[in-house]
Symmetry: C2
Subunit: 120 residues, 2 copies
Amino acid sequence: MSKSAVSLALTDLTVDAPCCPPLAQSRIPAETATVLAPAFKALGDPVRLQLMSMIASADGGEACVCDLTPAFDLSGPTISHHLKTLREAGLVDAERRGSWVYYRARPVIMRQLAGLLTID
Amino acid sequence: MSKSAVSLALTDLTVDAPCCPPLAQSRIPAETATVLAPAFKALGDPVRLQLMSMIASADGGEACVCDLTPAFDLSGPTISHHLKTLREAGLVDAERRGSWVYYRARPVIMRQLAGLLTID
DNA sequence: CGCCTAGGTTGACACTTATCTAAACCGCGT
DNA sequence: ACGCGGTTTAGATAAGTGTCAACCTAGGCG
């Protein structure tokens, strides 16, 4: 499956991977590794992986913190810290609307990561 | 730990693999997150990400530690430790042939991870 | 307006785990 | 036995994970 020709302008800012020839195709430059490793690191925790999934698979593409928190046996601040980690890794965006904060996945970086791991 | 003492069954790695409905398609079960998060965590370090790339993109699909180590400004034991992390995460296999140890990527889990991050 | 409450984030702290090195060790070939 | 290639152990320092308490914002009510 060649990703190169796939993404047209389905959504406005979904520019297809300015980077990321697959990991197994050519050796990753140190800079690229330094830039992308934090994203993998952010996904390297079961709670954050589930949070990421809940956000990305949520109806309307966004999830309220008020829906995320009760799904775990963890305190509010702890979930908030994990969400901050995902935010700082560039995996999600947060937006406040009224009293509630909504999180949304950033498809570009996710495609980058998926592309990196792609194997022929 | 005699996990990689000898290379017995070459492909016994079909494992539990509740593999790969994309993260953004349906919410990941806690068990799946617990199983796969360590793999992402292992990739969450610039050195290991580069190691992974060097191994996966190596000629013949395998790389000798003697070729990996000098590519970094780190001591031998440190590289060995990172390789052990990749091994324990199930991302690579090690095999000793004579004096040298060769590492090889495990495509199944890589496809699982890539599939997880896939977005329509 | 002032006061209260609910939703989230931030800060400070304890505890656990990761990263790195030097030194000791193991396996293999000469 | 010796040397070389890698791994393991032990130990110091840095970073991650969790909680409670304090704080900030938005909205409801007298």
